[in-house]
Symmetry: C2
Subunit: 133 residues, 2 copies
Amino acid sequence: MGDTIQMSFIEIQPIAASLRDDAVIAETDTACSPPARRDAIGAEAADELARSLKALADPARLRLVSMVAAHVDAEACVCDLTEPLGLSQPTVSHHLKVLVEAGLLTRDKRGTWAYYRLVPGALDSLAALLAAV
Amino acid sequence: MGDTIQMSFIEIQPIAASLRDDAVIAETDTACSPPARRDAIGAEAADELARSLKALADPARLRLVSMVAAHVDAEACVCDLTEPLGLSQPTVSHHLKVLVEAGLLTRDKRGTWAYYRLVPGALDSLAALLAAV
DNA sequence: CCCATAAATTGACATCCATCGATGCATTCG
DNA sequence: CGAATGCATCGATGGATGTCAATTTATGGG
């Protein structure tokens, strides 16, 4: 099913366009500082971005993404990742699931093996959103 | 004290240069996939990056950073941030502390008020590191 | 068929974390 | 000096999270 790929990839894009949709300008113009210069990001946009960042805010998952990217064709199966990571197979599977659900990796099961691939542009989109906060 | 500023800013920079210092190439050349094309990031680099990302992987903290950036001179005091965020003052103080310790904000207490400011370049450095994973 | 292998799922456990109320600590003002 | 204000710290609590052993679910080979 390519559904997961499409859905999560589409999810990321609109954030950039609507980063400040539900933004709220600080109305409390007390004496301590001047009012806002521009809008801050909205609560919902912050929720979305935080959920994506949470997926990457883990050493094991960062290494997994990097290891997948380091492979030829940016593709790797679980058996290649478990040992160098030093974690148990269920734990690696768990982390990979989180990354897939976050729209950063895709899973492709061929025969006995499950191959994971980078979603092209996902990391760069996230980085761009981060820099635009 | 500008110590916090200097220390944490210096912390971020070397990561980019040593992203793959302690990297380990996947040696397990089993049948399921070809060997690595390049090194993945190292365990320590992943730890460092994950710690920085964790600081931002929270809706409240993302909004705080954005709200501080939205202010004139990119400066804001706690009293400006508490109400629009909808969180209690101790919670906001807690989040701000996390952001300062992560090297993203600086704290400057003037009189009764505490002014928070963006560390210039910190967000962009993080975004660059993220895209380079 | 039955066994071996790869990977996902489950259940359990320890730890971390976001949040709040209460309290403490400066600083300012009357 | 004493009251008030802004902010940090403390302690508690409910919920999320990383990890593993055990089990389950395919898939492939003899």
